[in-house]
Amino acid sequence: MGCGTSVTGSRAKKSERAIKAAILIQRWYRCYMARLEMRRQYALSIFQSIEYAEEQAQLQLSSFFTFMLHFTHLNETDTDLISHFLNSPSDFNTAGSDVQLLEYERMIVVPDSYHGPRLSFPLTVADTNSLLHAFKDQQHLHARYVLQLLHETKKVLKQMPNIIHLSTSYSKEITICGVAWNWMIFAIFYKNGLPSEENPYLFNGDFVDRGKNSIEILIILFAFLLVYPNHLHLNRGNHEDHIMNLRYGFTKEVMKKYRSHGKRILNLLQDVYSWLPLATVIDSKVLIVHGGISDTTDLDFLNLFKRNKMKSVLRPPKSSTERNHDQERTEFVDSPIIRVKRCLPGQDFAAKGMTRPSSSSSHRRRHTSDLLDVGEHRWLLHDGINSGPLLEAQYLDSSVRMPNVPSELTAKEWKQVVDILWSDPKNQNGCTPNKLRGGGCYFGPDVTARLLKRYNLKMLIRSHECKQEGYEISHDGQVITIFSASNYYEDGSNRGAYLKLNPDLIPRFVQYQVSKCTRKQTLHQRVSVVEWSALKSLREKLYSQRSELIAAFRQYDPNYTGRISATEWASAVESVLHLDLPWRTLRSRLVQLAPDGSVEYLSCFNDLEIEPAIKEVQPALVETLYRYRTDLEIIFNIIDKDHSGLISIEEFRQTWKLFNSHLKIDIDDESIDNLAHSIDFNKDGSIDFNEFLEAFHVVNKFENK
C-alpha cells in the first residue's frame, strides 16, 4: 500500500464509485420516464376510445331518425313532427332554380357599419389576404359573402371529376395536409407559405367540426380554391357531412354566428360538401383519400357515379334491385351501421343478458365483440320478400320493417364512398368491417398491395386517424397517414405534421407542436395535463352511466358490501361502457381501494354530481337527460325550424315521448308534462332548450365555481 499505488488505487476506486452512481441515477431516471410514457399512452387511448364511441353513438342516432320516420304507431301530428327529422332543408329545396350570384346582393344587404372583409367576385389574392387578416382579428365574414363564396365554390367543384388527377411536373412540391382544423391552418401557412401557383396544397378532408372556427377555416380554404382552382385541392372527409356536423358542433357554430342566415348557409354547404372530390391521384402514382380503402374499392366505379348524390354517409342507401348475390350480399351483411342495445338507467342488468364473466380483453382498441354479441343488430336490406323494397331494422328487441328511405344512392355507391372516407389500415392481412367506428373497413397490407398493383400506383396517403407524431408509415411504406392537427385531444397530446411531395414522389415530413405555453414544459407537466384531461373525460363518462354501472357491480356484490374484486370491477366497467381500455391499470386513478385490495365501487362517483336545471326533477330523469343530452340537442335543433332556440311545449313533450319509446325509458308521461311545464320559465308556452340542456352538465363538487 505505497503512496503511489494508493493514490491511483483510490482514484480508480473513486472513479468506479462515480460510474456506479451514474448508472444508478440513469437507471432511476429511465424508469421514471418510462412510467410517464406509459401514462401518456393510457391517456391517449382513453381519448381515442371515447372519440370512437362517440362516432358509434352518432350512427345510432341516425338510425333513430330513420326509425322515427316510419314508426307506424304515430298519429298525424307525430308524423308531421317526424318528417322534420329527416327532411333536411335541402329536400325542400327548389331543386331546379339556380340562384344567381347577384341575387344574393339583392336579397341580403351588407350594412355600412360592417367593417369586415368585403369580397368581390371573381376573388383575387387581395380577398384572401383580407380574409386572413380579418380572421386573425377574430372578425366574421358577413353572411352574404359567405353565401356568395359557397355559391361560387359549388360551381367550381361541380366541374371537377370525382377523382382529381394532378401532376407535379410544373411545381416543385405539393404540400399535403390531413385534418387541419382550427388555427392549425394559419400555423401551416406561416411555416410553409400561402397557397399559390408555386406552392400548391392538398387538404385531405375534415376541415370542420373541431374547435370554434370551422366556418372561418372553410371560408379560407374555399377562397383559396377560387383564386387558385388548380393549386388548392380539397378531398372530402367524413366530417364534410351535415349529419356529422350536427353532432360535432359545426352546425351549432354556424347557427350561433349567423342566426337568420345560418340555415341557408348550412343548406348550401350541404351541396358544396357533396361536390367535394372524393380522391386525388398524383402523377398517376399516389392515391390520396381521407380514410382508406377496402377490398372492394373500385376506382373506376368511384370516378363514374354522380358523387353529389351522397349527401350524408349516415343516410342508408336504397336497396339495390340489380344484385349480384355473392358480392353484394357480403356488402350488406357487413353493412357498417350497427345498432347497439342501450341499457337504460336502473334497468336490470342481468335481464339484458350483458353479464360477462372475467373479461378477456383480447383485442385492444379495435375489437368490440361485446357490442355485437348482443343480438347482432344490423341493417339488412332485403329485396322485398313479401312486397317491394323494404328496410328491415333490428330495433331493440324486435325487428321492424319499414318502407325504405328514398335515397338516390345505390348500396354499392354508398359503400364505395363510405369505405374511402371511413376506413383505417391495420397491420394484419385481410379486410374486416370497422366496428370501432361503425363505418368502413380495416384494411390490411395485402388489400393495399392488391389495389396499388391493380391501378399501377406507388402509395396511398390518407388521414382520418390521430397519430402521436403527426404521421405514420405503415404497410411497408405503402400507406402514409398524415395528421396535421396538433394537440388534437388536449394541449400537448400529439404533434401535427404535413407532407411535402416532390416530383420524385418521395415524401418529406414536417412536424410541429403548437402549444399554449411559451415556457418549455417538462415532459411530466405535459403528460400530466393530457392525463388529467383524459381522466376527467373518463370519469364523466362513468358518471353518465352510473345506474347501469351500479347494477353491474351489484351483480358481483349481492350482499351490498360495497366492495368487489379488481377483476370483477374491470369486467363490469368494460361490459357497460364498451370502451376497450386497460381498466385494471386505470383503476387506481378512478376509484378507491380498500386495504385488502378490493374496489369500493361507489367511490368513482364521489366527486361528481349532475347539476339539474330544475329542482323538482327526479334523479332518474336527471341522469337520463344528462346521458342523452347531445342526442336531445340535435333533435331539438332539428325541430326548431326557425332556429330561434325555442320550441313549443307540445313539441318538447312529443319529442320526449318518442325518444322514450325509442329507448324504452321508463318515465311516465306525467313526469314529462311536469318537466315541460317547469322548464317553461316565463310561462309563455315555449322552451329555450339550449339553456335547458346546458344546465344538465356534470360538475365537480369540489371545483371552484
Partner: protein, 167 residues
C-alpha cells in the same frame, strides 16, 4: 386442517400469479398496436419499467435476450414475454431505487460536497459515464433538474420533487 391451509395458500398463490399476469398483459397491450400479441422490441424497456421494475440498460439487454426470437424479428411476442416477466415480478428483481440511495449517488458525484452539481458536471456524468444518456434524455432531465435562478442542480430538491410527482 393442514391440508386445507395448504390448499388455501396454493389458491392464494395462484390468484397472485393471475393478478400479476393480468398486469403484465395490460401493459403489454398498450403497445400492441396491431392486436396480435406482439410489440416492437424498442418498447419492451418502457413496458418492463412501467411494471415497477428498475433495470439498468445492461439488465434490459439480458432480459431481451431471453425473449427475443432466435432470429430477431424486431418484435417480441407476449407468449415469451409473459413467463419471463412473471418470474421477474414474483422474484421481485430489479427493485426501484430508494430515495436515500439515490441521494447518496448524487452525493458521490458531488465531489466538493456543496449540495449541488453544476449543469456541466451533471451533463458530463450523464452523457459520458455509466450508460450514457442520449441528447434528448439529457435535455429532458435538465429541464426539470436545473434551478433556473442558480443554474445549478440542487439535487436534494430535485429528488424530492420527482418523488412527489410520482405519487
Amino acid at each position: 386442517g393442514e391440508e386445507e391451509k395448504d390448499g388455501q395458500q396454493e389458491e392464494q398463490l395462484f390468484s397472485i400469479i393471475a393478478d400479476i399476469q393480468k398486469k403484465i398483459t395490460d401493459a403489454f397491450e398498450v403497445f400492441d398496436h396491431e392486436c396480435n400479441k406482439t410489440v416492437d422490441v424498442r418498447e419492451i424497456g418502457t413496458i418492463i419499467r412501467s411494471l415497477g421494475c428498475c433495470p439498468s440498460e445492461g439488465d434490459l439487454h439480458d432480459m431481451l435476450a431471453e425473449v427475443e426470437e432466435e432470429e430477431p424479428t424486431g418484435y417480441i411476442r407476449l407468449e415469451k414475454f409473459l413467463p419471463m416477466m412473471t418470474k421477474v415480478l414474483m422474484e421481485r428483481r430489479y427493485r426501484p431505487v430508494p430515495e436515500d440511495v439515490l441521494l447518496r449517488a448524487f452525493e458521490v458525484l458531488d465531489a466538493n460536497k456543496c449540495g449541488h452539481l453544476t449543469k456541466e458536471e451533471l451533463v458530463k456524468y450523464m452523457t459520458e459515464e455509466g450508460e450514457p444518456f442520449t441528447q434528448e434524455e439529457m435535455e429532458e432531465m435538465l429541464s426539470a433538474a436545473v434551478d433556473p435562478e442558480t443554474n445549478t442542480v440542487r439535487y436534494r430538491d430535485y429528488i424530492t420533487m420527482m418523488v412527489v410527482d410520482e405519487s
